[in-house]
Structures are given as structure tokens and as C-alpha cells.
């Protein structure tokens, strides 16, 4: 076991997969000599050569599109979007070509698109978004979003071994702030499986990525200040998400909050809330609450961004509102 940052865990996972399978290669803007805007692939070009660590022109559609083509010819590409925000430029290749290909003609498209996402880093409207919901609506894609170093390594490895296009949302705020123990051996975290990060009996918070952290902090305080026992469920995978685990937990606690950092309307939380009311209505003792960012672009200036983002205090407020039912 080594204690590493969330970023180092991703890097470890990528490196291990590169060593394990010579068909795996990395492609993206400035990922080679520079090692990536966030240094996730630092040193890779020296170790694996420029044929397997490819710097590209500024062409997000191009990056995703060559991943599709090369995946069909037997490689397992891992693309890096320099920031998740730029994935919009490659939207067509993902949602129309990659996502529909296996359905249309039965060929697998094993590819991963890594998306450094999330706010709290004062990146402004174009370097802070959490665009997972854009893709949540697309059959054929998978979406994962880890909250811990252990899950980050296990999920990137699972994503690379998956035979479908997988979007890997890695949160920039967590990159160097979150550390944890990560085995040096080979392991994967299966896609589609969530995990209870904190056991509780009075309410469930269903979260992923950064939201897991402020949910855990708020849960701790609820226990201490209010004597309310909160269960925190980390989805880890967003598409598909772990419906079984959600039902298990909600049937036990009878109260649910869905939390994510992406904006509220049309977000993943809405679908999960609908799923819970459809399948566990008779167990509920209150409305399924959602906590998310405000429905605006991500603002730049610190006070504006702080107001926009969900956080521990907003989480506490939501928990108390629900506890009152």
C-alpha cells in the first residue's frame, strides 16, 4: 500500500495498463513532452515512446474520432481532454459515432476519454464544468467519476479494459487535495458498482465525485450536532448507476438526497430521484431532495463561484430540511 494523491492514483492506473497491454496508448493535447496540463501523464513519453503517448493538434473531434478508428483496428486508446469543457468540440464523434457503433454494426469500441472536470479552482465558465449530464442521455456510453484515489486507480483500469466508450470524469479539485492508500497490485473497481462510504440509518445521500467529500463532512457533523445518522453512498459509476445499492440503502433509511456538483436542472440527480420515487415510493418518509450547483454558467470570481457551488454547509441545510420530515 502506498499513500498517493487522487492524481497519482490515476497516473498509476494508466501506467500499469500501458505495461500490461501494448495495445493501450494515450492521446491528447500536450500529454507527451509536457506530461499533460495537470501532469497526469508525466514521464510517459520517455517510458513508452511517442507512438504510444501522442501529442495532437488542437482537435477534440479529431482526438475522439481517431480513438474510434484505432479502437476498431485493435488498439485501446485513452484520450485526454485537456479540460472536460472542451469535450463539446468532440461531441458528435462521441454521441453519434462511438456510442452507436456497436448497436449499428456489432463492433466493440474500447476507448476511454479522460475528462478533468469540476469547479472550485477559479477556472471560470470554460475550465470548471461538470458536463456528465450531456452524455448521461446517450445510450452506448458509459460514465464513471471516482471520488478517492483507490477508486480512481481501479476505475481507470476497469475503463481501459471495458469494450465500450467510457467517459472518465476526474475532478480537478481532488487531484492533489485528496490522498489515500492505494494497493500497488493489480485490481479494478467494477463499472456500475457503487459503494457505501459511510453507514447510517436515518437518511441516504447518493453522491459521486467531489460531492462525496462534502456529503461525508456534513454527515459527520449531523451525527455530532443533531444525532442524525447519515448513510453516504458513492455511486462511482454514473452510467450505468448502481440501482440495486440505491434501493437497498433508501429502503433502509426512508430518506434520500441526491448530490452532485453539476448544475441542477437536467442533471443526473433528477433521474435518480425519479428512479427512487418509482421504485421505493412506499418506503419514503419525505421528498427525494436534490443538491447541485445553481443553474448558471460557472462564474469566475471567488465569491461568485463559492455562491454557485454546492458545499458542506448547503449539504447540512438540505439534510436538516429532510430530517424535519
Amino acid at each position: 500500500m502506498a499513500t498517493v494523491t487522487y492524481l497519482e492514483a490515476i497516473s498509476m492506473g494508466l501506467r500499469e495498463e500501458m505495461l500490461r497491454d501494448s495495445n493501450v496508448y494515450m492521446i491528447g493535447e500536450d500529454i507527451g513532452v509536457y506530461g499533460g496540463a495537470f501532469k497526469v501523464t508525466k514521464g510517459f513519453i520517455d517510458e513508452f515512446g511517442e507512438d504510444r503517448v501522442m501529442d495532437t493538434p488542437i482537435s477534440e473531434a479529431g482526438i475522439i474520432g481517431v480513438c474510434v478508428g484505432s479502437a476498431l483496428m485493435g488498439l485501446r486508446p485513452v484520450a485526454e481532454m485537456q479540460f472536460a469543457d472542451f469535450i463539446s468540440c468532440g461531441f458528435n464523434q462521441l454521441v453519434n459515432q462511438a456510442a452507436k457503433l456497436h448497436y449499428r454494426w456489432g463492433e466493440a469500441v474500447p476507448m476511454v476519454v479522460r475528462c478533468p472536470s469540476g469547479g472550485g479552482v477559479h477556472g471560470g465558465p470554460f475550465h470548471s464544468q461538470n458536463p456528465e449530464a450531456w452524455f448521461f442521455h446517450v445510450p452506448g456510453l458509459k460514465i464513471v467519476s471516482p471520488s478517492t484515489p483507490y477508486d480512481a486507480k481501479g476505475l481507470i483500469k476497469a475503463a481501459i479494459r471495458d469494450n465500450n466508450p467510457v467517459l472518465f470524469f476526474e475532478h480537478k479539485y481532488l487531484y492533489r487535495r485528496i490522498k489515500g492508500e492505494v494497493p500497488e497490485d493489480d485490481y479494478i473497481v467494477p463499472i456500475g458498482k457503487g459503494e457505501i462510504k459511510r453507514e447510517g440509518k436515518d437518511m441516504t445521500v447518493i453522491a459521486y465525485s467531489s460531492a462525496v467529500h462534502w456529503a461525508l463532512e456534513a454527515a459527520e457533523q449531523m451525527q455530532k450536532d443533531d444525532g442524525i445518522s447519515v448513510e453516504v453512498l458513492d455511486l462511482r459509476s454514473i452510467l450505468p448507476y448502481d440501482k440495486e445499492l440505491i434501493l437497498q440503502s433508501v429502503k433502509k433509511t426512508s430518506k434520500a438526497i441526491v448530490a452532485h456538483e453539476a448544475t441542477l436542472t437536467g442533471g443526473v440527480g433528477g433521474d435518480i430521484a425519479a428512479f427512487i420515487t418509482e421504485h421505493a415510493f412506499e418506503y419514503l418518509d419525505g421528498p427525494v431532495k436534490r443538491l447541485a450547483a445553481l443553474d448558471t454558467p460557472v462564474p469566475y470570481s471567488p465569491p461568485l463561484e463559492a455562491h454557485f457551488l454546492p458545499n458542506k454547509d448547503k449539504m447540512l441545510k438540505t439534510m436538516r430540511e429532510l430530517a424535519a420530515f
Binding site: G62, G65, M73, L75, W105, V109, K142
Partner: protein, 364 residues
């Protein structure tokens, strides 16, 4: 204005003067914005007589296939729209026929000929126009939207320009895996206006990929003339911007399409980077069967009818005694019979069960 003059001027035939050094000749070639077939030494790419017969057969089958689709469309038997390639058969057939067995082609909507040349039986191909289960898509997609890696066919999507990137991606895999394979795809004059065309061409150029892209300049993008897509009459000039070789060919001459494509494919295979070919041709019908092409001047159709690729090929083969009149009739009869059987097969093939469409969204 010197550049502009150069652009519009018909490039000089490439026979270098005897006094010109090889280096000077090479420089001269480099300075040209694009080459024409006549500038290239294509003698060694001349198809054999057997290959010429093959090319003719495929042209006829491509035409007969389209005619059959049009007929079935009017009878209300085609599901959805019916897109054809009338007038452009020589480009698809000549270029795809120039590929090797392990190469891959990404046909778009006017390249039925490519799919036929790669060996998909016309009965299964036609099944895809009538939504049956006897096609590579099993009814999940229609018309010429199909792919089959066994045949080396990469399925298109409707979004133009996308395949340029995808086939560049195939070529990237060939380069990484050090395989002597080439990827070929097509784009229309209208499709060159897309961002994805640009991104794909640029990446292929920068990485010197074994990739050939053929722009089929058929004068019309649905109802929009090429002049409303591009200010330059010759789309091959785009090659210069990517720093790659670009060639203009007569897209209605199947022999030239074969020779030029073969030259480009083998050059790309040898590691010289991608080549852009502009095929000058004409879409002889509307965008699809529902479009009567009222906006195309009658004179333009009449002018291009004289260059019909099938009539030209037939005349060439008879004049050069590659085939006899009897053989010609035999080939035509064979094609007619194949299409007759294909229709019989496709219209009697089963539709997929309604529940079949819920599987296969994800690969295992």
C-alpha cells in the same frame, strides 16, 4: 496575384525538359498547388484486361443496384429515403478496387460501389434498404449505412466529415502497429466545409498516416452548388494547406480513377503520408429519390451525360477489344440476373422481431 493566376491555370504537363535536373523537377512538382493525373507516371498502375473487365462489371452492378433501389422506392417498398450514386460509380469502383485485401474503406452515401467491390452480396446490401434482418445492421440502420470489418468496410454516419477522422484513426492504428495497410474514405464537395474534414486531414498530414481521402466534387451538395461551399473551383487546393500531395482526377473514367487511386494508395502505404484526391464528377440525380433536382440546370445534366462513366467504359472495352460484343451482353445479363435475385431475396427476407432492437447497445 501571381498565386491566383497559378491556381486557375491548368498545370503544365509534367514531362520535364531534358536539361532539367531531377531535383529541379521535384521542386517544380512541389511548387504546384496540385497535380493532375497526366502529371504522374501511372503506367505501372494500368489495370490488366481481367481487371478492366472486373471494373466494368462492378460499374454495371453499381448502376443496376441504384436503378433497382429507385424502382423499389417508386413502388413504395424502400423504407425511408433512397440515396443513389448515379454518375459517380467510376470513382467508388475504381478507387475501392485499387485497395488491397487488408485495407479498409469508409464509404459514404454515394459509394454503394465501394461496398459492392468489397464483396458484400447485393442481396444483403439491398436488404438494408428494406429494413430486413439479412444485413450487417440487422435492420438497425438503413440504406448504405453499414459496416463489416471482415470486408474492410467502415460504416458511415450521416454527419459529414466524421469518417475522415475515423479512417485517419484506422490509419493511425496501422502506423502504430507497423502494419502495411491503408485507409481510404470519401467526402463530398459539401462535406469539405465541415470542421471534422479539416481536423481529420490535418491530423493525417501531421502524422504522415497511410491514408487517402477522395473528394467527390459532384457539383451539388443537396441543392447547394459547389460555388456556395467554396470560393476555389478546385477543391484539391486544400491539400496544399495541409502540406500533402493532392491530385485532380477525372472521376467519370474508371480506368483513371483506378490508376490514380492505386498510385495514391501505394504511395501512402510506403510511408509518404496521406494523399488528397479530387474526383471531378457529377451527381446525375437529386440528393435522393424524393428530390427531383429541379434546381440543376438541364444543360449541366446534358453536358455530363456525355461523360457517363458506364458508356465510356463500355466503349473503351469494345474499342480496345478487351471484351467482345457477346461478352458484353453476357456481363450485362449476369448483372441483371444478380439484381433480379437480390430483389427476390430482399423483399422476401424476414423483418427483425420488434424486440430484437433492445440488445447490443453495449459490447460485452
Amino acid at each position: 496575384m501571381a498565386t491566383k493566376k497559378k491556381l486557375n491555370k491548368k498545370p503544365v504537363k509534367s514531362k520535364p525538359a531534358k536539361t532539367q535536373s531531377a531535383a529541379a523537377a521535384a521542386r517544380n512538382r512541389q511548387e504546384k498547388t496540385f497535380l493532375r493525373a497526366a502529371d504522374l507516371d501511372l503506367e505501372k498502375f494500368e489495370p490488366t484486361n481481367e481487371q478492366k473487365k472486373d471494373l466494368y462489371y462492378y460499374l454495371l452492378l453499381n448502376r443496376a443496384f441504384d436503378d433497382r433501389v429507385a424502382k423499389l422506392y417508386r413502388q413504395g417498398k424502400i423504407i425511408g429515403a433512397a440515396y443513389g450514386s448515379r454518375g459517380q460509380e467510376a470513382t467508388s469502383v475504381g478507387s475501392t478496387y485499387a485497395l488491397g485485401k487488408d485495407d479498409i474503406v469508409g464509404p459514404i452515401i454515394r459509394n454503394a460501389g465501394s461496398i459492392i467491390v468489397r464483396g458484400l452480396p447485393v442481396k444483403n446490401f439491398l436488404s438494408n434498404f428494406v429494413g430486413r434482418s439479412t444485413t450487417p445492421t440487422r435492420g438497425r440502420d438503413g440504406n448504405s449505412h453499414l459496416g463489416d470489418l471482415e470486408l474492410g468496410v467502415f460504416a458511415p454516419i450521416s454527419h459529414l466529415g466524421s469518417l475522415v477522422i475515423n479512417l485517419a484513426g484506422c490509419a493511425l492504428a496501422f502506423k502504430i502497429k507497423k502494419q502495411p495497410r491503408v485507409a481510404l474514405t470519401y467526402i463530398g464537395d459539401g462535406g469539405t466545409s465541415t470542421a471534422e474534414f479539416h481536423e481529420g486531414m490535418n491530423m493525417a498530414a501531421v502524422w504522415k498516416l497511410p491514408f487517402v481521402c477522395i473528394i467527390e466534387n459532384n457539383n451539388w451538395a443537396y441543392s447547394t452548388p459547389t460555388s456556395h461551399q467554396n470560393l476555389t473551383p478546385d477543391l484539391a487546393v486544400k491539400g496544399k494547406a495541409y502540406g500533402i500531395e493532392a491530385i485532380v482526377m477525372d472521376g467519370n473514367d474508371v480506368m483513371e480513377a483506378y490508376r490514380v487511386s492505386k498510385y495514391a494508395i501505394e504511395k501512402a502505404r510506403a510511408g509518404n503520408g496521406p494523399i488528397l484526391i479530387e474526383s471531378k464528377t457529377m451527381r446525375m440525380k437529386g440528393h435522393a429519390e424524393h428530390d427531383d433536382a429541379f434546381y440543376v440546370p438541364k444543360e449541366q445534366f446534358a453536358e455530363w451525360q456525355k461523360k457517363d462513366p458506364i458508356i465510356r467504359c463500355e466503349k473503351y472495352l469494345l474499342d480496345h477489344r478487351v471484351i467482345t460484343a457477346q461478352e458484353n451482353e453476357a456481363i450485362k445479363a449476369r448483372v441483371a440476373k444478380e439484381m433480379e435475385d437480390a430483389e427476390e431475396f430482399a423483399l422476401n427476407a424476414p423483418f427483425p422481431n420488434s424486440g430484437d432492437g433492445v440488445t447490443g447497445v453495449y459490447a460485452d
